[in-house]
């Protein structure tokens, strides 16, 4: 096997250049090196000016999402050897404004996240003495959606989000469902306005790229379709009982 691989890395320094450019670096091709290890090698040994986000390097923090050879990937979980003999192209996540090099502005996603209130909402005044109990079956209802690590690969993969920045997007809707489907939660009515707005689930045309891109096997496309049925049922109810249920 070759001892090195060329990484073509997107550079964008807004103080120096108007457009992003590609810069090539040769890094050691080691069996145990992920794309992120290659970037760290560049940063430590070749070019200290390269900017990118990372933290846990074990697929939990969701910081190191980038576009690798055109596909959204967690760079800590994507190995250099899979792209041998190279070159391998590393670019910032698509559909987000680039701040510098491989760093994107995630402000839009952070704002959308809080809109769906992704936490347990209780209507009762008093908190119980112990925990809210839950059966394994009730846990299973929402468990896969709780695996989301907010890495935004689904937003990068979603062509609808690429066309329409107002779309609430896959992860926010999947996380809303993570709480809507939780037996301890009582906040689904509070989330309904955001989810059933035109920029909520109805913008999704079920391309399904979000679920393909998810590195944690969450199925945001499934969450969205399930919520469409919920929202459509509520609409039918409001037609049948125009003044009921409020």
């Amino acid at each position: 096997m070759a001892r090195s691989i060329t990484m073509q890395v997107a550079r964008y320094r807004p103080d120096r250049e108007a457009e992003p450019t590609m810069q090539s670096y040769d890094v050691p091709l080691r069996k145990d090196w992920a794309i992120l290890d290659g970037l760290n090698h560049i940063k430590d040994e070749l070019d200290g000016t390269l900017s990118y986000r990372w933290s846990c390097r074990m697929g939990i923090c969701g910081s190191c999402g980038m576009t690798v050879n055109g596909e959204p990937k967690l760079t800590c979980a994507t190995f250099l050897t899979d792209y041998a003999p190279g070159p391998v192209r590393v670019e910032p996540l698509r559909n987000f404004p680039v701040v510098r090099d491989l760093v994107v502005d995630i402000g839009d996603f952070m704002a959308k996240l809080s809109v769906v209130q992704p936490w347990i909402i209780r209507k009762d005044e008093e908190t119980p003495d112990g925990e809210y109990l839950q059966t394994p079956a009730e846990l299973e209802d929402y468990k896969q959606f709780s695996m989301c690590i907010n890495c935004m690969l689904c937003y990068s993969a979603c062509p609808i989000y690429g066309l329409n920045e107002h779309f609430l997007g896959p992860a926010a809707i999947a996380l809303a469902q993570r709480y809507n489907l939780d037996s301890r939660d009582q906040g689904s009515a509070d989330r309904m306005d955001a989810l059933s707005a035109s920029t909520g689930v109805w913008d999704c045309t079920y391309v399904g790229e979000c679920s393909t891109a998810c590195p944690k096997n969450v199925d945001p496309a499934g969450a969205i379709q399930r919520y469409k049925l919920t929202a459509a049922t509520e609409t039918l109810k409001s037609f049948l009982m125009p003044r009921g249920g409020r």
């Binding site: 062509p159 609808i160 066309l163 309904m192 306005d193 059933s196 707005a197 035109s198 109805w202 045309t205 469409k228 049925l229 929202a231 459509a232 509520e234 609409t235 039918l236 409001s238 409020r246």
Partner: protein
Amino acid sequence: MPKQRIAPILWLLFSAGGIVAALMIPVLLALFGVLFPLELVAPPDHAHLLAVIRHPLTRLVLFGTCVLALFHWAHRFKYTLYDGLQLKGLHTAINTFAYGGALLGSAVAAYLLLLLPA
């Protein structure tokens, strides 16, 4: 209370159309397009088939299949133009053509299947 009134209804029609089309049309095509013409399955005689078609329930099912499949097409075609060809600016014309076409097709289906004497 849901904010969107029309989108959910159109989606329900789209969704139902997808299911009905996926279940019914391959079976009908396989039977009448392949198996009967090639005589891999003995085709029913004309009188038998006519009796089936004349039954009100058959007509209703065929009518439902046509209507739902047309609305499925309308929804998909709309978004193909919206997002695929990025013609969202022409939304009035696109909606009129797609859903108007589905309504017109439904009317034709109603005429042929429900109103025309057997």
